[in-house]
Assembly symmetry: D3
Homo-oligomer: 276 residues x 6
Amino acid sequence: MLDTFVIEKLLSFLKEDAYPEDVTGRFASGIKAFAEVKVKDSGVLCGVKIIVPFLKYMGLEIKGMSKDGTRVNKGDVALRFEGDGETVLAVERTVLNVISKLSGISTVTMEMVEKAKGVNPKVKIAGTRKTTPGLRDFEKYAIEVGGGDPHRLGLFDSVLIKDNHINLLGGVAETLRKVKSMTSFTKKIEIEVSSIEDALVAYKEGADAILLDNMLPSQVKEIVDKLKGKVILEASGNINPWNVEEYASTGVDVISSGFITHSSRALDMSLDVFRS
Amino acid sequence: MLDTFVIEKLLSFLKEDAYPEDVTGRFASGIKAFAEVKVKDSGVLCGVKIIVPFLKYMGLEIKGMSKDGTRVNKGDVALRFEGDGETVLAVERTVLNVISKLSGISTVTMEMVEKAKGVNPKVKIAGTRKTTPGLRDFEKYAIEVGGGDPHRLGLFDSVLIKDNHINLLGGVAETLRKVKSMTSFTKKIEIEVSSIEDALVAYKEGADAILLDNMLPSQVKEIVDKLKGKVILEASGNINPWNVEEYASTGVDVISSGFITHSSRALDMSLDVFRS
Amino acid sequence: MLDTFVIEKLLSFLKEDAYPEDVTGRFASGIKAFAEVKVKDSGVLCGVKIIVPFLKYMGLEIKGMSKDGTRVNKGDVALRFEGDGETVLAVERTVLNVISKLSGISTVTMEMVEKAKGVNPKVKIAGTRKTTPGLRDFEKYAIEVGGGDPHRLGLFDSVLIKDNHINLLGGVAETLRKVKSMTSFTKKIEIEVSSIEDALVAYKEGADAILLDNMLPSQVKEIVDKLKGKVILEASGNINPWNVEEYASTGVDVISSGFITHSSRALDMSLDVFRS
Amino acid sequence: MLDTFVIEKLLSFLKEDAYPEDVTGRFASGIKAFAEVKVKDSGVLCGVKIIVPFLKYMGLEIKGMSKDGTRVNKGDVALRFEGDGETVLAVERTVLNVISKLSGISTVTMEMVEKAKGVNPKVKIAGTRKTTPGLRDFEKYAIEVGGGDPHRLGLFDSVLIKDNHINLLGGVAETLRKVKSMTSFTKKIEIEVSSIEDALVAYKEGADAILLDNMLPSQVKEIVDKLKGKVILEASGNINPWNVEEYASTGVDVISSGFITHSSRALDMSLDVFRS
Amino acid sequence: MLDTFVIEKLLSFLKEDAYPEDVTGRFASGIKAFAEVKVKDSGVLCGVKIIVPFLKYMGLEIKGMSKDGTRVNKGDVALRFEGDGETVLAVERTVLNVISKLSGISTVTMEMVEKAKGVNPKVKIAGTRKTTPGLRDFEKYAIEVGGGDPHRLGLFDSVLIKDNHINLLGGVAETLRKVKSMTSFTKKIEIEVSSIEDALVAYKEGADAILLDNMLPSQVKEIVDKLKGKVILEASGNINPWNVEEYASTGVDVISSGFITHSSRALDMSLDVFRS
Amino acid sequence: MLDTFVIEKLLSFLKEDAYPEDVTGRFASGIKAFAEVKVKDSGVLCGVKIIVPFLKYMGLEIKGMSKDGTRVNKGDVALRFEGDGETVLAVERTVLNVISKLSGISTVTMEMVEKAKGVNPKVKIAGTRKTTPGLRDFEKYAIEVGGGDPHRLGLFDSVLIKDNHINLLGGVAETLRKVKSMTSFTKKIEIEVSSIEDALVAYKEGADAILLDNMLPSQVKEIVDKLKGKVILEASGNINPWNVEEYASTGVDVISSGFITHSSRALDMSLDVFRS
């Protein structure tokens, strides 16, 4: 991610909170302030890379920072910066809301990655498009920081044929053929199936990957036994930190989980400001 | 919220997912499709009011809808709409991500409101500024739909003096006096304190509301006993569905909770598309 | 106001005047130029704080400046800056139009403040929402520079129930009750009335402030006599520099005036450019 | 002006006032309302053409309207519209601020046009670039509605060499020659002079128009006597409704006035809303 | 492409040409006009799908249209529409510039597709990222209309390792391994090589596709003989309508050409407007 | 062109190519890279002035540059810059696409200027509005760099009455009179004619310039013989490098050509990146 695009997005978040005026913090204009982002729980830090260029753009000076991906614990200081009091107070909540949310995602991703790799060292934990509206890019980045695979960035970067597409375009084979014949050779084509039969059809029709949707681990296992190594196999559907090992142990290549973005909890952090 | 501003925001979310092109769904262009948003868990529905003008703007026809605030259960249909297959598939995830997230917030707000009012019928459950970056307006709306008080929309609409402001501007009394003398008569002034002494000072200096930050219920109770009815008293700091009753039973006027926006889980929903 | 938001707005003003090209000034590209903003009338200076970060953003160097709020007279130099001739000429009119307009507002505000405080030292002179479209934030700032109270920044920061709301929602009492029950505790609620009876009703129903709309000074006085000190009383409606003392002498708390923004005259200024 | 660009600008004005939420007017959502824009003073109406497509875009229905350019008097109704109460209340101030401001400009333009043409029937009253930042296009339109000439829309549409350009680029002759040789044949070239000598030089060098800056009427007359009919002559500099006849009677071709945009007063109007 | 995004882009093009005002066409306001887009050369029509929703958005009525992909000849009418004269004249050039440019691209694409398939029926003619800045999406669409493969939409949708990447990251094998290990499983990975040796290395390291850059047809042939059917082979580098057959006859899978976007000529068209 | 506006446009081009992420180039983050823009054909360089402020804005350092307007040949280095590898790779194509396209325009403009001036030393070669959508300002600049006249920047800066306007508004005389009476004195008025008779009418009615549309050189000559020196005469319509001398030799004042923008070929260039 280029800094210029990251800053643009953070300015829109700041605007939401502080435009046209911070009616409390403006009284601190002209007072030099020092700020510390303190972690209040255990987890994986994420968002510092995003926040730092933004703070610099706002005229603040970075006095210290941990790297994204660092495992942090209660009391750790993630970031220190300094500058005009009005600006420091205005950015406070934007900084915290972004870092807390992204660190929460990296934390749960890492948790699932570790659990899954414990039983299946080559498995990938991937995200989905069930991200927070407006935060897609940042959340995909948080997944990578947590050791996961971002999966598609959007509808534009690879083909994933789902049940709804098949409902409109025909059966598994027919839809796959039609889409394949009209899609750029630069794109992978994945298709979602919900039965062993459809998985076999998808393989025969040349899908690059097959998404096994909402299947029991035992069903996933059955397909893995048949197709492992011939096509990328991805399991998905209500997989979370509590059942991820079970799915991983089927030998599937990829496990994708909406939970890590739509239901992860923010990592608790606070920002302390002092006269410097 | 005026439709025109809501649509503008949803278009930016759609763009994030579907611009420049939905390389899968575009093959459904020209096929008329019918879609149903199905609820897969119990909760309070929120977001239909936001989604409907957006769908209309996209040229889709609404065929049925439940109202925001409705209690929903697994299997309920929240929304039905119809139109060109390419458009239906392109909006699918934006629709789901928005409704699921907001319904999750309304659901947990309602849960906390009911618990709190069970022991203190006049108490208000309020949000904070710990909202998802870019979703502030929608999340404040979801809090109201869940029966809560949105609290400040941002730094611009009322004064809330926090510890960081006091660190920069002086003590409780001095900061309050300075801010009060320079703030428009149209704004309420609230101040955060962490001791009984400061609460009494804040009251004497004419604060409109006092935020009791990170206090034990017993400490809150002590201040409530002294100041109830003389100034608005708000408890805050790690209050969640599991300890809200304890805080409510102190008799405090308002309980604010970041949990409802930063750590609520999305309400599970899916969208089924068929040829119509 | 944070510099980043101020600059964004000024760039849009510059674009209006100088995009895609200043077909005259472009011939001065490469020539170093020195510029002076000269005041040509007496008044209160306003806008330098806004213009300076913009000029710096445009790559110009500030060589001297007076502070907003300074009383200026014909011949005074408000601002000096230096840089590439093409840029200096391109920003000339934007700079002058902004400073002249805002200084005009601060000047008339100060005039009214002084007249009003002469007879009622505690009275506040407040703005209204009758500002120039697109300049709200800057004009509110100019009011504060002139010693006035900005009043509401927009429809979002506090409640002001006017005759049109009452026409739609019911009588004074009914509207006030309905709005009060559904408004966040963080917002003040003010209501506009046009009779003594309604003022008393509004007070009883717990309004935070009462706007006495288009009343004669004698009527205002009558209400002040009854409610002074119990609720904030604001007089409004065609109050201008020529009748403000009369209204101030009623003892009212606040006098708001659309005149200061919609009908104030720009303070005459010019910009002289030389080779440096 | 194409409706689509006008609407875009008005939405930004509405946003300034009503985003994220009209915390008072939102309670009128669902109530059908009827609104009338009433004139409260005498003048020339302007802005209806701009407001009407915006109101339609907002989903409101036009029930009656006067045309821009109509002479109006106290009590006249300029515009009637109907629709949802929340929307009607949200647009109220934007509508009034735009129409009042523009009508104020058209009114004073018409006044100056009539005075000037009384003594010099062919003279044109022109605007300047001393417009309100952000309102250039609308104010130029208001000048035309008042019978005036809009003059340059910005720095991009024709060349006007002023004293500051000459200070940087050389004397009148040298600057004119340089600019002429490098300017598209599609643009007129005007030059500002402050002496008879320079006016004659400018004419000889082939200027299309000469701006006589801050001269006494007698000086203008002297130049008019020499150059009338050979080159367009424009008088400018502190010309207002009180001295316009004197300048017009010199026989000059064009009189431009910053007064009509920077110091005109808004035409008083109000909007009354009722249940419909 | 969703209509809403297409319209947004076309409005920005219109703005470039017609904002703030069409000083000629505005005199046609109120006159109903009928317009015909006439083709003046032979080629493949492209852009109607893009222009039609834009014209509708502008309030114009479509009276007839040919489909994109139609082979057209001099005298053919591609599009007929009707509406207000000011709007018709304002959109004229935007409509023509878009349709002419895109049709020029589709035409040359089709020419190269036909030539190439004549000697190699399965070969694909693909675009590159050498598109006109700001027109990427539209030009990729024009390539598809001409029978070509759009190739990557941008840097975001699949991996293409070029010589510059290898210069920075290491040799072919090392770069490929590093990138592969850190790229989402959803993306194809292609690598550019300029020798047979590197092509073989790339194949062994598991590239999905290999781009043979600036090779002679004979060199391409040599690699095709070795790797055909094992990995996608793409030839690129100064391939144009005059040498495409030679490259196609090597048996390569894909031929990509910057020529079709950066050096194709617009298809000549005109727009005739009449009173309707 | 002010740098700030140029940068804004280039960022939008970069976004088109590299947002949200350059999935290949991001692996070069942290590696310092050096880049050279190399010319691969003969022509006139254009675009360096535009690219340089953009590269600086992106945090890259300029290490050497040729000036726009320089005649370049195969092997020449137009620009050298240095900085972070991820940024260098992300901007590569935007830089090349802009410089190649603009240099192609300057090159063909210069070619036509030289040919035309060979037979008519005072003739001007002008552009048209047949520019690439979104690139108008840059292409007009490229025309000037090539020695041409940019002609109108858009519909806003001068009046050009074409056949379509006459079709809607009346005959040549009637349209010209109507438009003249309602157009600002600051604008030139040109009219397109297709016969000698209409050219004479246009001259009598006081047009500032006459566009001779799609006439044979002999017809142009006939009009030039009658009107040369009395009014600006412009020939237009399918004039290109192969017939420009013939038109120039008629003695016409201006020759405008859409060819130079809509059908010029990009000047071949490449960018080489190395570790620095």
